[in-house]
């Protein structure tokens, strides 16, 4: 029951937090020079037309009023329209956010699958070959710019070997996409039994997931390695050794005690990659949410950026809540 009280208390703060984030974004974006009206109507617009559009968009009112209007609309889940796509931001994001989520989730699963075992084995055997490899991997992968590494993979696997589909979006144009249920092409294809789409979507996912997964395995690896090392030296591990427990059992104890740190780093990476995957999204023409927001900033298109920031803030909160729930499950001290 403590869990419920805790979640309740967390949720109370969500509202003000979101308003704060939106306010800062709003002010920051308002500072960007450039008149959306001019950009929308192009160079041949009449003064009259510009003025009418400004009134329509509410641009002639004070900043405070504009923000108030925006908040009021957000409360009704109306995030405005993007003048670039001429679509409501909510429907744009409904399409793009799942694309980013699918990419980031799969990448982090791959990163975990690489980083955790390497970290655990490396920490247990400090002079072993795995440890040497883990150290080099951590440093090298941490130094690779993801957008460039994506290009290298494209060059090798697409240009030279031709084993993956062209790095243009999530699905070939010739493939009929599955009906939109969850937004994840993989899951939707399975639901509708559309096997060609499944195979094609998986092929398109392969390179960007490899790119982000291989690179983000580095921080997970380093965190696992250092925490695991600390836990293996901790008092309880020493005591377990004194009790003559086999090294495997001692390592398992240490791993359980390291899990909170590993989960934390994964959640941080998750939050970071929602926006941070934008470079890789551009390389693969992914059409994800980060790309959408960046285009918005560069073209003084306010609503998509605000919408994106709102979505990712909510997502971060959800992730942190999940992380807390996992802590509750692992560590009796938090109960």
């Amino acid at each position: 029951m403590q869990i419920l009280t805790y979640i309740g208390r967390r949720l109370i703060f969500v509202g003000p937090q979101l308003v704060g984030i939106l306010l800062v974004t709003f002010l920051l974006l308002k500072l960007i020079p450039g008149d959306p009206a001019v950009m929308m109507l192009g160079p041949f617009a009449t003064d009259d037309g510009l003025a009418r559009l400004r009134t329509e968009l509410g641009l002639d009112r004070s900043i405070v009023e504009q923000f108030g209007i925006y908040l009021w609309r957000v409360l009704h889940w109306d995030l405005g329209t993007s003048w670039q796509t001429t679509m409501p931001v909510t429907s744009d994001l409904a399409q793009r956010f799942p694309a980013t989520l699918e990419l980031v989730t799969l990448s982090l699963l791959l990163a975990l699958a690489i980083g955790m075992p390497l970290g655990v084995v490396g920490a247990r055997n400090r002079n072993g070959i795995v440890r040497k490899f883990a150290d080099i991997y951590g440093l090298a992968a941490g130094a690779l710019p993801d957008f460039w590494f994506g290009l290298v993979l494209i060059f090798i696997l697409y240009t030279i070997l031709g084993v993956v589909p062209a790095p243009l979006g999530r699905l070939d144009f010739t493939i009929i996409p599955p009906p939109d249920v969850t937004g994840s092409l993989l899951i939707d294809s399975v639901i509708s039994g559309n096997w060609p789409a499944l195979r094609n979507a998986a092929g398109h996912l392969l390179l960007p997931v490899l790119t982000l997964g291989l690179i983000n395995a580095a921080p997970i690896l380093k965190m696992t390695l250092s925490t695991m090392e600390r836990m293996l030296e901790a008092d309880f591990s020493r005591y377990a050794e004194m009790c003559g427990l086999p090294p495997k059992v001692v390592a398992r104890k240490a791993l359980r005690n390291s899990l909170p740190s590993v989960i934390t780093i994964v959640s941080v990476l998750y939050g970071f990659l929602i926006g941070g995957a934008v470079l890789v999204e551009i390389v693969f023409s992914w059409g994800g949410a980060g790309q959408y927001a960046v285009q918005g900033v560069l073209n003084a298109d306010l609503n998509p950026v605000l919408g994106f920031v709102l979505y990712s803030a909510i997502l971060s909160l959800v992730i942190y809540l999940i992380v807390d729930l996992i802590y509750f499950a692992i560590d009796p001290r938090t109960r």
């Binding site: 440093l139 060059f155 950026v305």
Partner: protein
């Protein structure tokens, strides 16, 4: 040794304890560290090499990094274009060695600005957090602002800063600084909070030293080591951010030689098999970040007394084993 113990073997050890008492610092220790950790030496080597290339770029570069030769576009790596030319006919090699002038300057300036601003704000926040009145409100405001900055998706925020300030070197530096400042802010604040509780700081306070005096004399010197370690680790990430901004088109404008924008300019050519305009600048970028992260991890070890001590012990035991081995031989 003036007084030789009379044949007590156990004491031989204690005897030479007085003889050679080199502390775990200074040049000789640093060199010994580089010998036992060759990867650190590699890191310093890479960084020095890149910096030298940047400084002497005008002497080394065979071509003008901004002057395209439209007749020689997409030339393969070879002679006279060591790394080939890009789609507009710019020499990739010349641009690759000119690029760190921009990238390193931005990253270093951005990191230093963020470390300075972040540390000062963090020190203020930490110091006034436990007090009453206006100071506490200021501290609260600083912390909440940093929360908001951290809640932002990093790239979107950095791009927005550049968009607000206009595309220039200074705005990219500020964007890098803005994004990184919360790290130092939190680090410094936690340092100050822990140092404040120490006895001698309380004593100084009771003795009537002013707030600023306490901050300057007791708190900041104590917190220097972790900030320095964080700074050295941070530079690599700042270089990456700088290049990423330029890759998106929110950073340095073409044709200024810069790794990120070079990769962006060449990336359409990759699919057609012209790999060199993108791959070479990316390699240089990765190598530089790799070098800086090695330097960063060496500073992390050296700035931490515990880890430095452990490393010193390792060096010592290696040396002992070696002398034992030579004695046996």
């Amino acid at each position: 040794m003036t007084r030789q113990p009379q044949g007590a073997g156990a004491l031989q050890v204690s005897a030479d304890r007085e003889a050679g008492n080199a502390p775990a610092s200074g040049w000789s220790f640093f060199l010994a560290v580089l010998r036992t950790r060759p990867q650190f030496a590699l890191g310093y080597g890479i960084v020095v090499l890149i910096v030298l290339l940047a400084i002497f770029a005008p002497l080394i570069a065979p071509f003008d990094p901004r002057q395209a030769n439209p007749a020689a576009f997409l030339q393969k790596p070879g002679w006279p274009y060591l790394m080939g030319t890009d789609a507009t006919g710019l020499d990739v090699f010349s641009r690759v060695i000119y690029a760190p002038r921009i990238d390193l300057t931005i990253a270093l300036a951005g990191t230093v600005v963020s470390a300075l601003a972040g540390s000062i704000l963090g020190a203020i926040a930490g110091y006034y957090e436990t007090k009453r009145g206006l100071g506490r409100m200021v501290a609260g405001f600083i912390m909440r602002s940093s929360d908001v900055v951290q809640a932002f998706p990093v790239f979107v925020f950095a791009i927005a800063v550049v968009a607000v300030l206009g595309q220039s070197l200074q705005s990219i530096v500020l964007a890098v600084a803005f994004v990184n400042a919360p790290i130092y802010l939190r680090l410094m604040r936690s340092q100050v909070l822990s140092v404040r509780r120490l006895r001698y700081v309380e004593a100084a306070y009771i003795a009537g030293t002013s707030d600023l005096g306490i901050l300057a004399r007791h708190v900041i010197p104590n917190a220097m080591a972790p900030v320095l370690a964080q700074l050295s680790v941070n530079i690599g990430w700042s270089i990456l951010l700088t290049a990423g901004l330029s890759f998106i088109g929110a950073g340095v404008e073409a044709p200024t030689p810069e790794w990120g924008s070079m990769i962006a300019m060449g990336y359409q050519n990759i699919i057609t098999g012209h790999w060199w305009p993108s791959i070479f600048p990316g390699l240089a970028l990765a190598l530089t970040i790799f070098g800086f992260s090695l330097v960063g991890s060496s500073v992390e070890v050296l700035a931490d007394p515990v880890r430095r001590g452990r490393l010193a012990g390792e060096i010592r035991s290696k040396r002992v084993r070696k002398t034992a081995a030579t004695a046996r031989a």
